[in-house]
């Protein structure tokens, strides 16, 4: 497809388990972002990848969260030892930087529920 895709669309897990969330960005987009959207909250920035540069991890809430981007395309967000407060919708977005102007395109998100 032409848009950003994410999988799974829904994930239910037990507290303490690890989860992996996947994002397939739009082909050719060099920038990839992960956000967390909790009920009643805005979008919380988690991590940002741009080309081959070191990722900006400044938004990751704890060391249980990590992400990687392989081959400059697909990205995986991993949450270890999940906690109930990790329950949220995790959104991925990609963009193409053009002369300082870029527009993010969002995927449908992964709704994570930690029991």
């Amino acid at each position: 497809g032409a848009g950003v895709s994410q999988s799974p669309s829904n994930k239910v897990t037990e507290k303490g388990k690890d989860v992996e969330l996947r994002c397939d960005p739009i082909s050719g987009h060099t920038a990839l972002y992960w956000y967390r959207q909790s009920l009643g909250q805005g979008l919380e920035f988690l991590i940002y990848f741009q080309g081959n540069s070191a990722p900006d991890k400044s938004g990751l809430p704890s060391d249980r969260f990590s992400a990687e981007r392989t081959g400059g395309s697909v990205s995986t967000l991993t949450i270890q030892r999940t906690q109930q407060e990790d329950s949220a919708v995790y959104l991925c977005a990609s963009s193409e930087r053009l002369a300082g102007q870029e527009t993010q395109y969002f995927g449908p998100g992964t709704r994570l529920l930690v029991l």
Binding site: Y35, G42, L43, D56, G100, E102, T103, Q104, P108
Partner: protein
């Protein structure tokens, strides 16, 4: 600190009423401004954006927004809303921050349009 404020958290309007959603930001340097919309059950979509030039920008579905630099504002407007405009609206700012591009999102405004 960089921030985006959306003062209206919930707005209820009747069809044909005019809409204005406030967005104020705090961000040093050059900014790009965005409004995203999230319809029920759908993912975030770009409504409109401002990079430079004419501060009055027009987006899809009859929406427009005006960038007022002196007020650090980027309010969203629509002269006559429709029931189908029921959605959550997010204002976002993007600018260079410590050498990386980072987006800051507001907490969103939930709009309900009564038929």
């Amino acid at each position: 600190a960089q921030s985006v404020s959306q003062h209206n958290h919930h707005v209820i309007l009747s069809e044909a009423a005019s809409l204005e959603l406030g967005c104020n930001y705090s961000y040093g340097g050059t900014v790009n401004l965005f409004w995203y919309v999230q319809y029920p059950g759908q993912h975030l979509q770009l409504l409109l954006k401002y990079f430079s030039g004419d501060p009055l920008v027009k987006g899809i579905k009859g929406f427009e927004a005006e960038f007022i630099k002196s007020k650090f504002s980027f309010n969203l407007r629509k002269p006559s809303v429709q029931w189908s405009d029921t959605a959550e609206y997010f204002c976002a700012v993007n600018g260079r921050d410590s050498g990386t591009y980072k987006y800051i999102f507001g907490t969103g405004t939930r709009l309900k349009v009564l038929a």
